[in-house]
């Protein structure tokens, strides 16, 4: 196994403030986020991990249930059973998109009446629960809230799996743009003579749209924009503040990937998008890297297996040779996959440039408790046993 390559990640755990884990679906983002936060706490920091839709067992391990939209501290006994006097703290929360959005509305509404008119509106309920991008936006909103009010030294955020890596950067803008829709706002304007013409055109336009989707839908939308009147500015400013936090040097990006061709392609694409936003990937985590057993090549091992299977002896010797051939075949299989993965790791290093790469071994068992998270942490940050 290679020497511990944890420079970038290690520094980020010790000194980073906001860490965002991004990457495509199924590569282990949530696990990586938990490992990073846990490591921060083990190093004495006050750390929190924001998870999005974690697997049930991992959520249980983190003490999360459906009602955990605010950070709560995990008993030190559970994450540091060997050193109950450790000075770090570890908290976790599971993002609840709708509750977070509701909180934002309540905060920016002029009064309770306006807030409840919005919260009860059907169009708003769709925006806050079903609209693509809302989850990303609220993850960033939550991050901002923790940054402002939580007193945490290290905030690690998992991101929803998306096709476009940076939905979480674009979502705030997209949603404020939606809430700021020109056509619908035209309808809200006082009908000065010069605008009446536009108003009529817009009305005709909406009537046509209403014929396709139903007028009740249009009514809901209009009611929403009417209720939302006056809050756009606050929302826009808030979104700008959230984005400023992401673009500020204190936020670091960890790109999580896996050593397969398609995952590599996607992470290269992610890295390009991050660069296009004038941000950079600060560390790369390659999850589930198969172990390598020695440095014998697969082809040689397979030839050995073939030889044992076909050319050796009879009776007891033959049986032993056949068993041994299966052992060689198995070793060859693993060496082959290790070699392919190594090739992809090299491709990641070459194509994603400067970011230090940490590899996380594929464990023989599944990861869903603190023991396993700690084991991964040990392998990534203290790989001297490999």
């Amino acid at each position: 196994m290679t020497a511990p390559p944890a420079g970038g990640l290690s520094e980020l755990v010790s000194e980073g403030h906001v860490v965002i884990c991004c990457g495509s679906g199924g590569v282990g983002k949530t696990t990586s986020a938990a490992v990073i936060a846990l490591e921060g706490a083990r190093r004495g920091r006050n750390a929190v991990v924001v998870t999005i839709d974690p697997a049930k067992r991992l959520a249980n391990a983190l003490g999360l249930d459906a009602l955990s939209n605010t950070a709560h501290e995990i008993d030190r006994q559970r994450w540091s059973p060997d050193d109950p006097t450790a000075s770090g703290r570890l908290s976790a929360l599971m993002l609840d998109t709708k509750t977070t959005f509701d909180g934002l509305v309540t905060r920016y509404a002029n009064d309770e009446e306006q807030a409840s008119r919005i919260l009860d509106n059907r169009f708003y309920r769709n925006v806050s629960s079903a609209l693509g991008g809302t989850q990303e936006y609220m993850a960033m909103e939550k991050l901002h809230e923790l940054h402002e009010e939580g007193g945490f030294e290290l905030i690690v955020v998992d991101t929803p799996p998306t096709r476009h890596a940076l939905d979480f950067l674009d979502a705030p803008k997209r949603i404020t743009r939606l809430l700021d829709n020109r056509i619908f706002r035209l309808l809200m304007l006082p009908t000065r003579a010069s605008l009446r013409v536009a108003g009529v055109a817009v009305q005709a336009f909406l009537k046509t749209v209403g014929r396709v989707v139903g007028t009740a839908v249009i009514d809901d939308v209009l009611a929403f924009f009417r209720a939302f009147e006056g809050m756009e500015e606050g929302f826009r400013e808030r979104a700008a503040t959230v984005l400023a936090l992401l673009e500020d040097g204190g936020t670091q990006f960890v790109l999580v990937t896996a050593p397969q061709r398609d995952a590599v392609e996607e992470s290269v694409y992610f890295a390009e998008q991050i660069a296009a936003h004038d941000l950079r990937v600060d560390a790369l985590v390659v999850n589930r890297v198969h172990p390598q057993f020695g440095d014998e090549q697969a082809a040689g091992l397979r030839a050995r297996a073939e030889h044992l299977r076909t050319e050796l002896g009879s009776g007891r010797a033959k049986a032993a040779a056949t068993r041994l051939a299966a052992q060689y075949e198995n070793l060859a299989d693993f060496q082959e996959i290790a070699a392919r993965e190594h090739h992809h790791l090299e491709a990641i290093r070459a194509r994603i440039g400067t970011a230090p790469v940490s590899t996380v071994p594929f464990l023989a068992h599944d990861v869903h408790d603190f023991a396993a998270l700690s084991e991964i942490g040990d392998r990534v940050f203290r790989a001297d046993d490999c």
Binding site: G26, I183, V221, R261, D333
Partner: protein, 316 residues
């Protein structure tokens, strides 16, 4: 069961599963088997980027149909494009540009959640009715989203009371609920979280949408081998076979054997758990010791899949 029978039970097969379980690989394998059986296949990709074309050794897919292999065609069908198409075909061609440039399209799509999904499924339905292929394979969005994708028509029927969109939703609901026209093939791998998600998805789909489920594909199963994990026994076998194996190499052989044996045990337990939780036949596909799935690997998986399907009893 013959594959032709397996496939001909429905013309539309929606392949769904959590990210990273090999949904696209399975889609490619099913397409390969169907094409071998002489059927024409159309693969519909709804998420834009996927490794589908790479699996067939072809460049990226576009909105136009592409021939990926003999008798296998593919195209993407993105929600955004489906919405624009729909509006254009409903007399809104003139204003559809204005709809999207002003962001009003987003407002409307938000006002009618699931609208874009319905339109994608609506397109699939018209492909089915036009007999675009003997088998239409839909490479569905990743798991969590798959449920909302498939639930979208029934949700919309509740939200919208009139209009052509409602008609569309009703047509799609009819397609989804008819097992002779449409089935869902769920894909997972033998690990705890993917198995849990598969079980949740299966129940959500059957209970709430009334869609029939095809056999479940359990992907990436290690072929079960009985290996020696004890280094001394490996050395003893080398002695008995009359070959020299260094102590170091014997260590690697037994370490690799131990790793595989542990993974095999976990997998066996998860396969068992899925059988207990979900009374559906399982098609187990072997883990290929490769990181890149191209035409060669797809052929291997297609072979394995045909064998498995033949061993499933035909429904009475």
């Amino acid at each position: 069961m013959e594959f032709a029978q397996f496939c001909s039970t429905s013309r539309v097969l929606i392949v769904a599963g959590k990210g990273g379980v090999g949904k696209t690989t399975v889609t490619a394998s099913v397409a390969t088997i169907a094409a071998r059986a002489g059927m024409s296949v159309l693969i519909v990709e709804v998420e834009g980027k996927s490794g589908l074309s790479a699996a067939f050794g072809q460049p990226n897919l576009g909105y136009e149909e592409t021939q990926l292999a003999p008798r296998v065609r593919a195209r993407t069908l993105t929600p955004d494009q489906a919405l624009v198409d729909y509006l254009e075909s409903h007399g809104l061609r003139r204003i559809s540009k204005r709809l999207s440039s002003t962001g009003t399209l987003d407002v409307i799509a938000t006002a009618v959640p699931g609208m874009k999904d319905i339109l994608v499924l609506g397109k699939v339905k018209s492909l089915e009715q036009d007999r675009a292929a003997d088998l239409i394979l839909v490479d569905a969005p990743a798991a969590g989203h798959a449920i909302s994708f498939l639930l979208s028509p029934s949700g919309l029927l509740d939200a919208v009371s009139v209009g052509p969109i409602r008609k569309q939703a009703a047509d799609v609901t009819e397609l989804l609920a008819d097992p002779r026209r449409c089935q869902v093939l769920l894909v997972t791998i033998p690990e705890e979280t993917p198995v849990n998600e598969l079980v949740d998805t299966a129940f959500a789909i059957e209970d709430r949408v009334g869609i029939s489920l095809a056999p479940v594909v359990m992907n990436a199963c290690y072929p079960q081998l009985d290996l020696e994990t004890d280094v001394d026994k490996v050395l003893a076998d080398a002695d008995a076979a009359g070959v020299f194996v260094s102590h170091r190499e014997a260590g690697h052989l037994s370490d690799a054997a131990r790793f595989r044996t542990e993974r095999q045990q976990i997998q066996a337990a998860q396969i068992e758990r899925l059988s207990a939780a979900l009374p559906l036949p399982q098609i187990r596909l072997p883990f290929l010791f490769s990181t890149d799935l191209g035409p060669t690997q797809i052929d291997l998986l297609a072979d394995a899949m045909s064998d498995r399907i033949e061993s499933i009893d035909a429904p009475a």
